[in-house]
């Protein structure tokens, strides 16, 4: 599989480390909402089809990426820096 890093360009999947589901959202640090924490830490949907995933380009620019990938065909429809996606979410824009 090839992931097209927005900085480094297309690279083999061996340069990347899977860092989990990118659809989860972390509660506010001081939150006591245990259900929300539980959902963040443990609950993972296992959808067929398109999925947002974190991948760390550990063997390249060391940026976390949000990769939108169809898990049944492995087709990748978008790759963006996680930092940009996170900033977009924080400022209320769709990621």
């Amino acid at each position: 599989m090839i992931i097209k890093c927005p900085y480094c360009g297309p690279r083999d999947v061996i340069e990347f480390i899977y860092q989990g589901d990118a659809t989860r959202s972390r509660p506010e640090p001081a939150s006591n909402d245990m259900a929300a924490w539980n959902a963040y830490v443990y609950d993972r949907a296992n959808p067929s089809g398109s999925h947002r995933e974190y991948w760390l380009h550990s063997g390249g620019c060391r940026q976390h990426l949000v990769v939108t990938r169809d898990v049944s065909t492995h087709a990748i429809s978008s790759v963006v820096f996680a930092r940009d996606a996170a900033v977009a979410v924080k400022s209320g824009e769709p990621a």
Binding site: E15, C61, Q63, F81, R83
Partner: protein, 195 residues
Amino acid sequence: MAEPQSPLGASYVPGDHGNAAAGIGVTLRERKGLSIIQVTAWSEAIPAMLTAIGSATGLALQNKPGLGRVAGEKSVFGFAPGRYLVVSATPELETRLRSVIAPDLGTIIDLTHGRTVIRISGPRSEWVLSKLFAIDFSEHAFAIGNGRATLHHDIHANIQRIDDETFDVYVFRTFARSFWATLGHAAEEVGYRVE
């Protein structure tokens, strides 16, 4: 002050190796005596940082992924967003960079002791490097002066293209001897010379 010790030790053996009888495909050498400074810009300050690097080194860059420039012993290249290696044979490099890079531009860290620089040159350098790294070394994909971050198995490397058949490979010091052995092994087929 004493010379820093090379991590390559006894594995650095000058002379001709491998299938050298059929010609020298590549020449390998360790570049020593360099200052290797990593500069990282805050994301909004990348253009200002590039200007600052340009004023300290005379090597001005555009803000595009992986761009770099080389002038003699001096070089600079990007390998991650806002992150550059600035390299020079002058020990004052860090001081000069600090004098032009204010904290609101970004941060500076001296990696001189943490990186070993191996220069590979010769007509078969693309071929030999392609055995180890899964990146496209052809000149149209990897232009002179530009940089890359990649890895060979567990060994991270920054690679800068110096000219059409010369590359500098920056590896982490503690992996350097292992990498040197692997590189020599890969070069045996084409014959190699250690300077």
